[in-house]
Symmetry: C2
Subunit: 412 residues, 2 copies
Amino acid sequence: MAAGIRVDPALVERAVLELAMEGAHGETGVWRTVYSPEWVAATDRYTAWCEEAGLRVHRDAVGNVWGRLDGTDGGKAIVSGSHLDSQRPGGRYDGALGAIAALVAIRTLKERFGPPRRPLEAVALCEEEGSRFPSANFWGSRAITGAIAPDDPETTHGYDGESIAEAMRAVGLEPERIPEAERDDLDAFVELHIEQGPILEQSRLPVGIVNAITGIRHYVVELRGTANHAGAFPMDLRRDPMAGAAEIISGVVATAHRMGRPAVTTVGRVVVEPNGPAIVPEAVTFTVDARHPDPAARDALYAKHEALMREVAARRDLEISWHHTFDQVPLTCDPELVRLLEEAAANQGVPSLTMASGAVHDTQRMAARCRVAMLFVRSKDGRSHTPAEFSSLDDCVAGIEVLAAALHALAY
Amino acid sequence: MAAGIRVDPALVERAVLELAMEGAHGETGVWRTVYSPEWVAATDRYTAWCEEAGLRVHRDAVGNVWGRLDGTDGGKAIVSGSHLDSQRPGGRYDGALGAIAALVAIRTLKERFGPPRRPLEAVALCEEEGSRFPSANFWGSRAITGAIAPDDPETTHGYDGESIAEAMRAVGLEPERIPEAERDDLDAFVELHIEQGPILEQSRLPVGIVNAITGIRHYVVELRGTANHAGAFPMDLRRDPMAGAAEIISGVVATAHRMGRPAVTTVGRVVVEPNGPAIVPEAVTFTVDARHPDPAARDALYAKHEALMREVAARRDLEISWHHTFDQVPLTCDPELVRLLEEAAANQGVPSLTMASGAVHDTQRMAARCRVAMLFVRSKDGRSHTPAEFSSLDDCVAGIEVLAAALHALAY
């Protein structure tokens, strides 16, 4: 394995800053939703950089931009990349850094080692966040893996009401041709992404190597009791869904905390009916987002949560119902790729930690078609999905050098 | 004390049903906000009934309707009544029953015993609920007790934006003349009202005698932490205001429950920022409505709540702040009037319970000018502020007979 692969920090810095100009929001924010003029401009810029680096560019049917460096031996492609769309607003690094990293790594390898044996591709994916079309997460990676149903484009609607098919046509894409974006010639996908959490920062390490991506379930839980006068109804006769919800929320948070890292459970959303200060509520609806990357631990976490919800509702004589709005099984990354990334980090002299991802990523989708792994770059204060997200240039460069070393080992 | 005072059930039933036609909402509901056409029609009807009963009618400067039966000896007036305005929607009984009760009781006494020694007055008060002008609760009783400031009419705004002064002018009242509504010639005020809670029903008793009205404090509590990614941020590093809020809500509810009747604490309103299922919230704001009719117990309840809020916030490293939007001291009813009502119930053969009111009432305001007490009539399922509120005709009649007996003892 090659050691001492260095990338040009100035190249990385310029790319991050220039890409952030497309959809710039305030001083450090980015507001770049899929198929918007800002997103189109970002893909144009990415295309130009690929061409500048001597890569063959292909924009596929959903708008993913591919930059390819052919391999002398042919075969299935080694791919890296991430998404160009952002939260509303997000920051400069979430997604964008991974697309830039792939391009910079391949350009660096080409300049230093010439053409690879195996084809290398950088990809800028579209609509990972679902920030314009809330049910269209992973639109780009779903197209590549054949996971967009024929009627999805017309039935997937944005916050403004328009279908994603209309938005595609507005930027010159033909929804009917989405199946053409599918790929069956991929060997490996390695995505570099900011961590979005504080674990690397706490560990004082610049880079993480992701060996698993968490399983997630989103519960929507509704507790119903009886609305009553806050003054005239004694405590012992109430059927108060707020008291039940508070007990469940305390309990699920404590369960995940006690189970220990990487278990996480979050209640981020609560809606109360009628939500008046002097009325015992009729109903409290809340979400429970519970995650664990280990399949058995995940099942145990969910079982504990559900047992608590049932027990509290029964004891407090409340009606309870729940459904899942999202249920994704954990992904174990390819052990060979993980080992390769660990070795690359060691060879490059980059201290790293092998860890699970608590966030979802395009990588999970890509796993349907090829072996996958990920690299994390340290996030300041663990923040993301905000203009305040930040990763230092040193950390970005360290991550890209590990990526380049791994791509070198795979393709040369 | 006279025993065997009987009122005509048909008169009570007809009055309840006819008054409910003004602002009828669905089958059993009433939507009658102050100074609306429905409210004007209800006051017209009440005026006509007073005249029919041979009472001298006076509409005061805020729109309270008074029906007076002069006393042969003169002196300060013995008054009963309640409010004609409703929730949006409310039911047929909350307020309306007390206005009807006063009129029916005085009419019954007049027909059976002739003119009293002391003046007797029935009053239909305006805007107790604050359901059109949220900060105008007790508008009618505040006018009577001189508790409306000169600029209140212009600065008190309704949900639709108009000032209460405009609404008064639209029905022919002059806000400048509000001071003329003040009374300094009242001796006693006895308000009959539905219980709005389940205590009488649980005790299988038709009537309650109110010896105290609860003290209430409304806290608005804001807990601030740090918004973070629900997946990537470990439990042990979070500053999660939702977890803190849940612990506080569970705790305050448990404290009031453990303190026992009549302590009550309610969290009826919760607002979460940003309220997304996959984001650890930045802030959770919630109300705490805490009530106790005993001044010392009330202070103890509040102290326990505040100690818990401080402790949870400090332990979880959350910023906490709170303010009061409402803080009303408890009212102890006049012991002489309470004893008189208990004796009247016993003489009438009406089983009763002496109890505190957990709800606020015009009576609290009237206490500034005269001695006060209240009568409660059993509420089906303890419900109020809903079209489903119901009190049986038998219970209403029993309550009015106790009221009439007490007014007889006071005025004859």
